[in-house]
Symmetry: C2
Subunit: 223 residues, 2 copies
Amino acid sequence: MTLNRLINLMPKDPLDLPATASANHPYHHGNLRQALLNASMDIIRNQGIGGLSLRKLAEVVGVSRTAPYHHFKDKDALLAAVAAQGFAELSELLNEAILDEHLPLSDKLQQAVMGYLQFAIAHPTQYELMFGQMLWQDSKQTEFQRTAKDCFRLYVKIFESFEQHSQQSLNESPLRLAQVTWSTLHGLARLASDGIFAKKDDLDDIAKTVIKQIERSIESESE
Amino acid sequence: MTLNRLINLMPKDPLDLPATASANHPYHHGNLRQALLNASMDIIRNQGIGGLSLRKLAEVVGVSRTAPYHHFKDKDALLAAVAAQGFAELSELLNEAILDEHLPLSDKLQQAVMGYLQFAIAHPTQYELMFGQMLWQDSKQTEFQRTAKDCFRLYVKIFESFEQHSQQSLNESPLRLAQVTWSTLHGLARLASDGIFAKKDDLDDIAKTVIKQIERSIESESE
DNA sequence: CCTGCATTTTGACATTGTCAAGATAAGCCT
DNA sequence: AGGCTTATCTTGACAATGTCAAAATGCAGG
C-alpha cells in the first residue's frame, strides 16, 4: 500500500505532558494551553468539529469551564489555533520532501502530493476546520491565516524548482501551477476522506492520474 | 467579465409564497416547509451556517420555536434539506449545458466548469454546507446523499459523451476524468469564494488553465 | 356535527458560550 | 523575609439554543 506511511500520523497518543491532571491538579496546570490544544484535536478527531464544547474540553483536561479563556480569547480563537497547528504540521511534512537535496524533482512532487493526501486522510475533521469558511472569513484570525499561507508557499516553491531546473520555461507560472495543483489536491482530499463521490480504494489510482496530469502540465508542451 | 452570469444566481428574492406571514398568520401556515427552507438559505447566505438557529428562523418565518419540528426531524435534517436543494439547483444548471444537443462538446465542458464555479461563488456558505462532513458522515441523511450523487453523475455523463464522439478511446475512464475534474473544481471553488490562497480576480485565468488541463487529459495523448 | 389527524403552541429542561468578581499561587523587588 | 504585581484558575450567573412533552387548534371526512 502506498498510503501506509499514514500510520505514522494517525493515532497520536492523546495527552502526554503533565497527564490529564485528573487527581493531582496543582492549581496552576503548568501547560494548559498545549493540553487544551491536544485534547481539542482529540475530541475533534473523534466527535467532529461540532462535538467540541469548551465545557467538556475543560472537564477532560481537568480544569474549570472558564480556565481556557485565559489562553484563548474565545472558542473561535481555540479552533483557529488547532487549525494553525494543522498547517504547521503540514508544512513540516512538505518541507521534509522539499529540502531533501538529493531527491529527484519528480519524486519531490510525488511526495508533496502524497504527503498532502495522507495528512488530509489522517486528520479529516481537523482538515475541514483548516479550510472552513469560519476561520477564513473571520478578520481576527490573522495569525492563523498567515500560518496557512506560509504552508501554501511551499507548493509554489516546488514549481519554482521545476522552472529553474528545466530547459525551456514552463507554459504556466509556478503560482498558477501551485494554485491548480492545490485545488485538485484539496478536492481529492475531500473525496478521499468522506468518500463523497468515490470509494476510498480508488484514491491511490486517482492520485496517480492526478500526478500524471500535473506532469503533463509541466513538461514541455507540444510547441 | 466571464463570470457575470453570476448575477442571475446571486440575490434571489427572499421569501415569496404566503409572504413572511407576519401580520396575518393563519394558524396553518400552508407552506411552512418551503418557507423554512427559503428563510434558512437566506440566513445561511448572510450569516453563515453557524448563524442559523432554529429559534430565530422560526421567528423570521412567523411561527413558534417548535413548529419546524413537524417538517424536519431536527436541525441536521433541515440543513440536509437545504444542502439537497443546492444539489438540485446545481444539477439543473449542469443539465442545461448537457442536454443542449446542438452545442459542441468542448463548449459543454466549458459551461459545466464555469457553471459549477458560478454556483459555488454565488452561494458560498450553502456550498460549504453541501460538502461539509457533517452531512456526509451522518448515516441518516441518505436522501441528501442520493441527490448529491445524482448531481455528480452528470459529470460522468459529459466525459462519456467525449468517449462516444471521439475516435480513439480516452486514456482515462470517464469516471476517473469526472473524479479528477470535480476535485479540481471543488478546490478551485474554495479558492475563489474564500480567497484562501489566491485573489478572486485570478479566478477566470485559473479556470482557463484548468480547462486547458482537462482537455489535455482528454485529447489523444502522445501515448 | 363530531371525530381523527395534521399542524401549531406553550412550558420546560439540559447544554453551551461567555462575562464578572473573587481566589490562589508564583515571581519579583526591597 | 514580607509585600506587591501579575498570571492563572474558580465559582456564580445569564442569555441563547436544541429539543421533548403535553396541550391547543383547525381541517377533512363520516
